[in-house]
Symmetry: C2
Amino acid sequence: MNPNILPNFLKNRAMLTPNRVAIVFKDKRLTFKELYEEAYYRAGVLTASGVTDKAYVGFLVKSDLYTVISLLALQIIGAKAVLLNNRLTVDELVYQLNDARVGFLVTEPVFDLVCKQIRGQMPALNIMGKQDATSYTEPIEKKIIHLADTCTIMYTSGTTGFPKGVIQTYGNHWWSTMGSVLNLGLHEKDAWLCAVPLFHISGYSILIRSIVYGIKLVLHDHFEVDKILRAIEKEKISIMSVVTTMLHKIESAVEKSLPSTFRCMLLGGGPASLDLLNRCMDKGIPVYYSYGMTETSSQIVTLAPEYSTTKIGSCGKALFPAQIKIIDDKGNETSANIPGEIAVYGPNVSQGYLNKGKSSMDGWFHTGDIGYIDSEGFLFVLDRRTDLIISGGENIYPAEVEGVLTAINGIIDAGVVGEKNEEWGEVPVAFVVKEHNVLLTEETILNICKQKLARYKVPKKVYFLSEIPRNASKKILRRKLRN
Amino acid sequence: MNPNILPNFLKNRAMLTPNRVAIVFKDKRLTFKELYEEAYYRAGVLTASGVTDKAYVGFLVKSDLYTVISLLALQIIGAKAVLLNNRLTVDELVYQLNDARVGFLVTEPVFDLVCKQIRGQMPALNIMGKQDATSYTEPIEKKIIHLADTCTIMYTSGTTGFPKGVIQTYGNHWWSTMGSVLNLGLHEKDAWLCAVPLFHISGYSILIRSIVYGIKLVLHDHFEVDKILRAIEKEKISIMSVVTTMLHKIESAVEKSLPSTFRCMLLGGGPASLDLLNRCMDKGIPVYYSYGMTETSSQIVTLAPEYSTTKIGSCGKALFPAQIKIIDDKGNETSANIPGEIAVYGPNVSQGYLNKGKSSMDGWFHTGDIGYIDSEGFLFVLDRRTDLIISGGENIYPAEVEGVLTAINGIIDAGVVGEKNEEWGEVPVAFVVKEHNVLLTEETILNICKQKLARYKVPKKVYFLSEIPRNASKKILRRKLRN
């Protein structure tokens, strides 16, 4: 009995509770049996196209039913999904597709123009519409799952500015679902609303949970507050995952309270203001403030509402299977209330990056984020990893934007920082140093950025300086820039 | 991040939710923090007595608060608990203590006489009262758990009649809790009533679950139906584990229905009559009929109440992380509805027996029980493993009783079978063949049995025959005996 072998998640769920509703998308409603049959058929179509268990398959898609079916088809085959942020530019997409050695790209008509440009740079790439079905070959089904096998790859930038593919195994996803259930509980009638992207861990993790838990996933392809509130009522939603900007809109739109069937608003993807958390409390919106990242396969630290008044602003404690600690400059664990770098450990934590080796040597993943743990074990996050800017739930690494800026002819140096913004939490702004006598306007610079960077990464403003403040070892003094 | 390393269960729970009630026993009520502190202190007392992480520590105890504390103290040290059925005779106990190479025995005054006799046979055994505390040494705490490490040993007999120590690792127990939560769910206010022995997997698994789930364990040291019903009301019990005899008494005593907070009656430990299940349904008692054994670290197959009317008599489907199949004489999987031997697989299944190697070669544990799986995947158990008799939730292996009978001077041959009994489900009855001209009464035979066998194993009747019916290969034809 190898403890790291389990039955295929969806196949097993379809066998256990075939008639429960698995997913609702717009006017479509599939049971677990139907979802499995659709995914199995899609696995046959992908097999006919040459996708095997060795393949890394890119996904450039929106969040809808056919994306879910295609993602689950990959699990049947045992192929790996490389989930691409659909807001990236062609250059960014090509970098990730090449880095992950992707041979197949699943996409849809709305991305035709982008795909045409990608094909220009990657002529051998096999691009498939996610609903196309020219031929079918009986798939070789993975009836059992090895938890150590790779399930998904999601890119994250890190401090160097070069995106790295985070390897998420079936085990990482499985243990994440277990950590979550021991904190949030599981009710027979639970229904989870997903209006966050499936290409992010926030969305993909909901998909895994709905299958493992056997609960209904209600999928929205974008966030629209009126539709969300109607869905919560109509579909008897009990849990929803949100980022701060969504919570902000929901709190504003909720007049008195949410329906009594609603029991958990899982808040992730960056800081929330105490003011917002307080207003949610007043309206009885049960916020579970959490901390997590792509490398931890979603939340790893979560505050339960029983502490929402006494520990406001804290992300809570580590989920049951995980551990957290705060380390100082020398790598030693700090005492209670002493800030330092947040390090995490657990079976939900990724073992490393694609083609780049392990993410850590001692088993502890050093997040780069700064925080402290109080005497009762509650984590408070002070600063996101090395100047990470979080805008509407998307991560922006200054180094990546700075790389684009300094590559522009006539720019000598650049620094990017986050500026507080009521709607998005933060937005990036740039400081640049021009060569003498060079004519370079803010508009020109931003136009170049828009070609190279996903829209959300493009600075909202450009300030011209004579010098970027740096310390002795030439690190940008971002605090100084912010002031 | 080794996926098979987790924080110590109790220490972690005490850190996560220190103030939740962990356990209620009579008029005592401890939070998780208090329970951890008590267990930690006890770990120090055991350490002072010489117990290390290498030790196998026997438990000859009743189910009460101090048993729980001592068991959890062993988890802090990393020592292994050998859980002894306290109804066994001295000979049976000594066999198991020797087999497990037990150096320490935790016990209590009510077993003084038995312990004195054990010491007569095992002079080197270190016998400790579970509440004694002569000295204290700071324990070396296992802050993390390796799931592959042994947690408990529980003896089961098997067809040869020689008891074997089932190795249950921390991982087996962990995965059992995960399989259960995905089937039964987890509510914030759950409270689990335990009136089954802690030395059985049925009781020990409740202890593990209450810690991992962070829910209240209400412990009774024996089953008394009036007290049970009062506790369900007063402690707002939501889940209770029962064997058929208990369910029988509860069903009789419940006048109209159980309180609305009660949501799951987990029935294990042998067959239940359709009549009883029907009567429970009439009174709204939500029975989850299950199948499991010591080797599967409690339930592995469980029927959800949503199928209680359509699949009455079935044990349901395998828990999410586990698999079941039916195999024929040649070891091949049978088709739907074709009976054969039940084989099980999963991370909750024991890897083997103490000092006796693996329980199976192909990873599948062959239970010896006979059953079939219908076309929808529901398991129906037809016959328990090789003539196993289940009496009030206790397993009786005919071969073991037959061994005692044939060792009696003047008995040539013997056969033991189960006889249906309204109160106990089954009781053992014996058939013996005496030597010619030997004077041997039923009373004499039973008196000898009482010295050698736990009371529940002693035959209720002895029939004298001239010959035990056997087949060509000399196997007893038990069906013939039953008729």
